[in-house]
Structures are given as structure tokens and as C-alpha cells.
């Protein structure tokens, strides 16, 4: 059930109507929990048990074992962490590591065979296991108290707006919101509706419409001209941004309409003047998770420059692997790690140039986009040779192909860049809240109709659902 499907609108309308009709907090949470499990069951009912296992494991260990002074707190904590990671490893990485082992052995002349289990990847597993782990770690660190209510923990992990593709919500932000019934004053309806519409347009009207052209280029890059391949890469950058940030917008808006606040997940990332700033604006909930639970525990930047670089690279490579079990994601993470290290080194060595280079931010933004889009090639391509072929065209501005792309990419890209810039500059949501109700409704209805007229036939799953 995608956020852009009519059945989701029906589902949400029913849930929201019942939710606001109920006047007490506990029944509301039961309703949301049932709705969330129902929402997930539409994807794959078999894996509900995995969510329940994950919930029970983290609830029990946090509640009964990781309490201060418990003699086995440390052991229990690590068993639970490894339990979460084991679930992730089994469902997401087993085949990758098994295949890699066979390949490695064959390089050494040893023939190994393994029977692939053909394990299906449960939707949203990377998101909810990370959320669950963050809860446990926060309890262990005493940042939050262990939750006594199983329903609250279950809802924190399975709340349907963020269940399958984030944002990765922190327990410290969400659990307090479950303590009291939300009231009408908690809901900024007009901004929520606008945010949902923006997300819908990004996902359904932009991302899904350009996806077929991107697919064509990435399926057979050698056949296309340089301009077409470059356009294909740029369009993919737009596609994945609109797809993922569109999903996040709709998730945040859906939660808002139920009175809950989620963290912002994107903040005009393609306007970042450095790769460091990019990672503060792209998939913010994941990057801050990696920062708080991986980079800082590894030592962060408190140690020597060499160790800091090692920590950065480790974090980014593991961040790449979080997206999926393939060498392409490893390379994607490596490229970002490398860029972050270079960026830090540049900032340290050339600090004296600060404020002396004309249009420094613009050059920084262009350089960031260039590198980020180079990395997207590895993120998107199905195979390494295919990625390499496109990367060579991106780097050398030469492709042997002769086919043109059947899409006016450049006017579209310029238009997108303009909207990206203006959207960052003007706070549409703030204006939406101040707008008088009736003109707002009239305009909203008209825009909704235009958005529907721009839908492609057929829905495409969200790119991040595979993670």
C-alpha cells in the first residue's frame, strides 16, 4: 500500500476518523497499532512476526535487563544488539556474504558451493531495526528511561507513517508524544496537507514520470550519446531525491494529521556548498543515527586525524551497506567517505582562503553536486561494469553511443533546480498556515486535480522500500 494509492487514502481516512473520534489515549494507541500492523500486513503478512520479535526483544531487554545496577545489563544489552543485527544480517546480507565467500574462495582456487536460501527481504527491515536499536542504546546510555508500556514501544517501532521507509524516528522524540492524547491544537492541518501534496507531487508526478527515461539509460548506457547519459545521471539524482524526500514528506504529513511530529528528513540537499553540509541535509534521520550511534562511539573526531578519517570512512561504508548488500553500495559509501575526508582536509589546510574566493558557495555547490551524482551512478546501476561505463562518461564527457534520450531533460532539470532553490528560500508551509481556509481549500482542490492529471499510468514502488 503506497502513500500515493487511492486505497491508502481510504485507509487513512478511516483510521484518522476513528482516531479523532476516540477521546482517550490508550484506545487511540491500540487503534494506531492495529492499523500499523494491518498496513504492514498488506505488504507481507509473514513478516509481521519479525516486527513483533524485534519489538518484544527490545522491550524486554530494555525494561528488565538494561536497568541501572542490573548485574547482567551489559551482557543482555549486547545480546539484544546482536539479535537485532542478526535479523538484519540474515534477511538482508546472508546471500551477499555467502556469494562473496564463494567468489573469494574461487580466486584462491578453492571451489565452494552454498545453497542460497532465496531469502526475501522484508519491507522496511533496515528502518525498524535501526529504530529499535536506537531505543535500546538510548536506554543503555540513560538518555531515556525504559518504557513500561509495551504498546508504546510497539507503536514506536511500527507506527505506519514511518514503518517502511522512515524517517528513522528517535525514541526520545516519539515516546513522549505517546504519553498524552493528541489534541486539535497539535495538528497544523493546512501545513500538513501542503506537505503531503508536495510529497505526492515529488513522488508521483516527478519521480515516477522520469523513471522510465532513467531506466532506459541505465539499462543500456553504451547506446546513448554523451548528453543523454549525462542527462540520465542528472535525472536519476532528481528521481531519487523526489522519490525519497517525497515519501518522507508524506510520512511526516500523515503523522502530523494524527498529531505527531517527526523530524525533518531532507533540507534542500542539492544546494549544499560542501559534502559535509550535504550529509546534514540528505536523509537527515539516517545520517544523524550513524553519527550518534556509530561515528561518535568509534571515537568521532576526538582522536587523531588518521583515526577520524578511519571513523568517517567506516561510517560511510557501513552507511552504504545499510542501503543494500552489494559492491555498488559499498563503492557509493566509499565515495562519500572519501569526499568527507577530503572536505575536512581542505577546510583545515585552506582555512586561510575562507571569504577570499569569489562565489565560493556556488563553486562548492557545483563540486558537491558533481561528486554526489557520480556516487549516484554506483547507487543506481545494477552491475559494476554498467556503473563503470556510465561513470567514465560522467568523468570524461564522452560516450560512444548515438541514441538520444526521448525527453527534454534540460528544461526539466533547470525548472527543477529553480523550484528546489525557491522551495528552500520561501517557507511554503508557514505561508500555508496563514492562508485563509476557503481560498486555501479551493486552491488545494485545483492543485490536487492537476497533480492527478500529471500521474503516469501505473505506480512504481518507492526506491527506498528495497532498503
Amino acid at each position: 500500500m503506497l502513500f500515493v494509492e487511492p486505497r491508502f487514502f481510504v485507509f487513512f481516512a478511516v483510521v484518522a476518523a476513528l482516531y479523532w473520534a476516540i477521546r482517550t489515549n490508550a484506545p487511540r494507541k491500540y487503534l494506531l497499532l492495529a492499523a500499523s500492523y494491518g498496513f504492514y500486513a498488506v505488504w507481507d503478512v509473514r513478516f509481521l512476526s519479525l516486527i513483533l520479535f524485534c519489538t518484544a526483544l527490545n522491550y524486554v531487554v530494555a525494561r528488565y535487563y538494561v536497568a541501572p545496577g542490573h548485574p547482567r545489563a551489559k551482557l543482555a544489552f549486547w545480546i539484544a544488539i546482536w539479535g537485532n543485527l542478526a535479523v538484519l544480517a540474515l534477511f538482508k546480507y546472508f546471500n551477499f556474504f555467502a556469494d562473496s565467500l564463494v567468489d573469494l574462495a574461487s580466486l584462491g582456487g578453492v571451489t565452494l558451493t552454498h545453497s542460497t536460501l532465496n531469502i526475501v527481504l522484508p519491507v522496511g527491515i533496515s528502518f525498524y531495526t535501526f529504530q529499535a536499536m536506537s531505543y535500546l542504546i538510548d536506554v543503555r546510555r540513560k538518555d531515556i528511561q525504559a518504557e513500561t508500556s509495551f504498546t508504546n514501544v510497539a507503536l514506536y517501532i511500527a507506527f505506519f507513517p514511518q514503518l517502511v521507509a522512515g524517517p528513522i524516528v528517535r525514541a526520545a522524540d516519539f515516546l513522549p508524544q505517546l504519553k498524552r492524547a493528541r489534541i486539535r491544537a497539535d495538528v497544523a492541518i493546512q501545513p500538513a496537507l501542503i506537505l503531503f501534496m508536495l510529497g505526492f507531487i515529488k513522488k508521483a508526478c516527478i519521480s515516477d514520470n522520469i523513471a522510465p527515461f532513467v531506466d532506459e539509460i541505465f539499462a543500456n548506457p553504451a547506446a546513448y550519446t554523451t548528453e543523454a547519459v549525462i542527462s540520465g545521471v542528472l535525472l536519476y539524482g532528481v528521481q531519487i531525491y523526489c522519490d525519497f524526500s517525497g515519501y518522507s514528506d508524506m510520512a511526516i504529513a500523515t503523522a502530523m494529521l494524527l498529531g505527531y511530529q517527526f523530524p525533518k528528513n531532507f533540507d534542500a540537499p542539492y544546494l549544499s556548498s560542501s559534502i559535509t553540509i550535504f550529509w546534514r541535509r540528505w536523509h537527515i534521520s539516517l545520517s544523524s543515527w550513524l553519527r550518534d550511534y556509530l561515528y561518535i562511539p568509534l571515537g568521532g573526531n576526538r582522536l587523531s586525524a588518521a583515526k577520524r578519517d578511519r571513523n568517517l570512512m567506516t561510517t560511510m561504508v557501513l552507511g552504504g551497506l545499510w542501503h543494500g548488500a552489494s559492491y555498488n553500495f559499498l563503492i557509493w559509501g566509499f565515495l562519500h567517505g572519501l569526499a568527507l575526508i577530503v572536505n575536512r582536509e581542505w577546510a583545515r589546510r585552506f582555512a586561510f582562503l575562507k571569504g577570499k574566493i569569489p562565489l565560493a558557495d556556488l563553486w562548492g555547490t557545483l563540486a558537491t553536486i558533481y561528486w554526489v551524482f557520480l556516487a549516484w551512478i554506483f547507487f543506481r546501476a545494477e552491475t559494476l561494469p554498467e556503473a563503470w561505463q556510465i561513470a567514465v562518461t560522467w568523468l570524461t564527457l564522452h560516450s560512444p553511443g548515438t541514441d538520444d534520450m526521448a525527453f527534454a531533460a534540460w528544461p526539466f532539470l533547470i525548472g527543477f533546480a529553480g523550484i528546489h532553490f525557491l522551495g528552500h528560500r520561501y517557507n511554503v508551509l508557514e505561508r500555508a498556515e496563514r492562508a485563509p481556509l476557503e481560498p486555501f481549500a479551493a486552491l488545494y482542490g485545483a492543485v490536487a486535480a492537476l497533480a492527478i492529471a500529471f500521474l503516469p499510468t501505473g505506480y512504481r514502488p518507492f526506491v527506498y522500500f528495497q532498503f
Binding site: P6, W20, R23, T24, N25, A26, K29, I144, A172, D173, P176, Q177, K179, R180, A181, I183, R184, A185, D186, A188, P191, A192, L195, C205, N209, I210, P212, F213, I252, M256, Q261, F262, P263, K264, I284, S288, A406, F407, N427, L429, E430, E433, L437, E438, F440, A441, A442, L443, Y444, G445, A446, A448, A449, L450, I452, A453, F454, L455, P456, T457
Partner: protein
Amino acid sequence: MVSAGAEQDMRGSTIAMADGNMGSFSGDTPVKDTPVITKASLRAAVLGIFCFVLVGVGVSTLYRANTPMPEIAVLSEKVEDYAQRDTTPDIVFLGSSQTFRHINPAIVDQTLAACGIVAESYNFGVPALRHPELEYIAGQVLTAAERPRLVVVQNPIRAETVFSNMMSERGRHFRGGAFTDAALEDVRCYTGTRMGQARSFLNTLRAMAAEFLGLGRLASVTVPTDPAPPPAYNEAYRSNAGFFPVEHDGNGHIVDRLAFSPMTDGIIAAGLAGEGYMPSTSVAACRARQLTDLFDRFRGAGLGVAYLVSPAPLDIAHDAVITDAVAAANPDMAVLDFNSAEAAETYFQRSLWYDAAHMTGEGADRLSQAVGAQLCTVLDR
């Protein structure tokens, strides 16, 4: 990033929250709140829905007015070919793939010639033809400068149930604009199960809403992607100059049918035993009325009409009920019924069938000869 104990809402302001001090709150105390639905919000919702429909319908209307009818495999080609013909055929066969695949005009003409009637026949059959499309083709025949003497109408297949088919360009075209009534009538006279009718009705409404509101119409103009290539039918069909046996047709749709809908001896035996779904008499009467309205338009224009029931073991029981109703509603009309136990010996042999619904070239030739022979009588009247 939202900090613990306070929420940064999307308006940029901070909602102060007491969530951090809720230890004593039971969570079961009813909360006092302002109503979510007020008169003002209802008024705004109505206005929003009105604007939504207004713009949607505007887009849809503009699109339909400014874009030609979509290219529909076989149908578009036949319509174009029929309009460009130098001579008007004497007999036109209208129907679904069971006309398209089963009626060989050359054999019909030869048979007629053998009984002394010089006539030219034309196969206007179109695969998956539903009632609104039949109405459209009938319109082409009726508005042509010269008209045939006789129209042979094959019993059309029941209304579509599959939503994705309805959302194809063809499906949407024949559910919008002037075809809305015919499409709804087709569902009303659905001759399958109640469940099938309910599915057809629901999906038809969804497809009609999509068409009514212009779903995807601006996208199809601004970012047109290559649609799936239409099935390639043999050129011989287009010009009606020849007849191409189904077993020699490489069209993917028909080849696939061998796998998912093969003919078996069991199907033939079950059909002859009278098994299979039989529509109620009221549904059959509805269908008969639907067809009779069409026949009356032909008769009103001075054309003769005959009703053809093509062999189809799967539908023997079903067709019998419909045929009786059609015959009752049109007592003077010739009914060419080849889907009954009497036809079993001639047609219901496994070797004559390509899949569960279509005969091979040999079966088609046999049927065309029989049709020609019966038309000798009809035209002789």
C-alpha cells in the same frame, strides 16, 4: 531535528509540551478538545472538492477534445480500411475475436456463389470487442456513404472485469465521453456471475472516475513515454484480402493463450454436458434488449440483420440462454447458432481448436462454409 521535550512543528513555531512530565497521567482520561469537523471546515472541504472536480473535468474534456482516438490494434486498422474501400461489401460480420478468427470472407463468398448469390463479405471482427465498441463500429457502418445489405452480429463477450484492461487507452476511450452510457449498460447486462458483475461494476466506476477526472492526461502530453507496442496482427487481416489461420499468427497475445487457456477434451465434454454458468432469465433479457436496440438501428436504416453464435464449448450453456432471449425478442431475425449440441459433431473436436476459445484455420473454414450456406437461405428470403 526535534529535541526531546519540545516539538518543532512544521509551522516553524515551538509547541511547548508537558510530555516530559506525564508520569502520573493515566492515558485513559477523555481529553477535552475542540471539534475537528466544524461548519467552516466542511464548507472548505466542499469547496475544495468542487474545485478538484472542476479542474479535473476541465483537463479531461480538453484532452478528449484535442487528441484523436487512440490507435487500437485491429479496430483502428479495420475502421480505416472500411472507410477507404472502393466497394461497399454486401455482408458485414461484426463481433469479437470469434468473428475475427473464425469467419473467412473468401469461403463465405464462395459458398454464396455456389448457391447463386454474388456477394462480397467483410470481416469486421475485433478481438476482445465489448458492447460500447460494437456500438462504435455499428456507427461506422451506418454512417458510411453506402451500406451493406446484411449485418451479421456475433454475440459480443460480456463486460470487462479487469481494471488494468479498463485503464488501457482503449479501455478508457470507450468508457468516457459518449460511451459512458453504453459502458454502464454493458455492466448492467453482464452475463456472468454476480461476483464478476460486482467486480466489473466497481472497476468500471474506477476507470470512469479516472477518465472523468483526466488521470494522467497532462503527463501523457508533457512526458510521453513509449507505450507498449500494440500487438502485431498479420497484414492480411487489415485489408480483409485474405484470412490468416490463428495457428500461424505470431501475435504474442494469441500465442500466450495456448499456455493459460488451452482447449482440452474435458472442456468440450463439460460444455456438451451442459455444465458452465447460465445467466438468469432477467440478465439474458437485458442482454437481448441491449442487442435488439442495436439491431433496430440497423433495421431502421434498411439493413438486414442476422445473429451469429460462434462455436465455443466453454459457453454452450451460457449462449443457449442468451440465444433464446435474443430470438424471442427478434422473432423474424435469422439466428445462425453454431454453439449447441447439434453442432458438436462438426466443430467440437479437439483437433479443430487452437485454444479454449478459438478454432484453427481448418475449423474456421468449416464454420465459414456453414455460415455461407445458412446465409444463402437468409439472402434468398
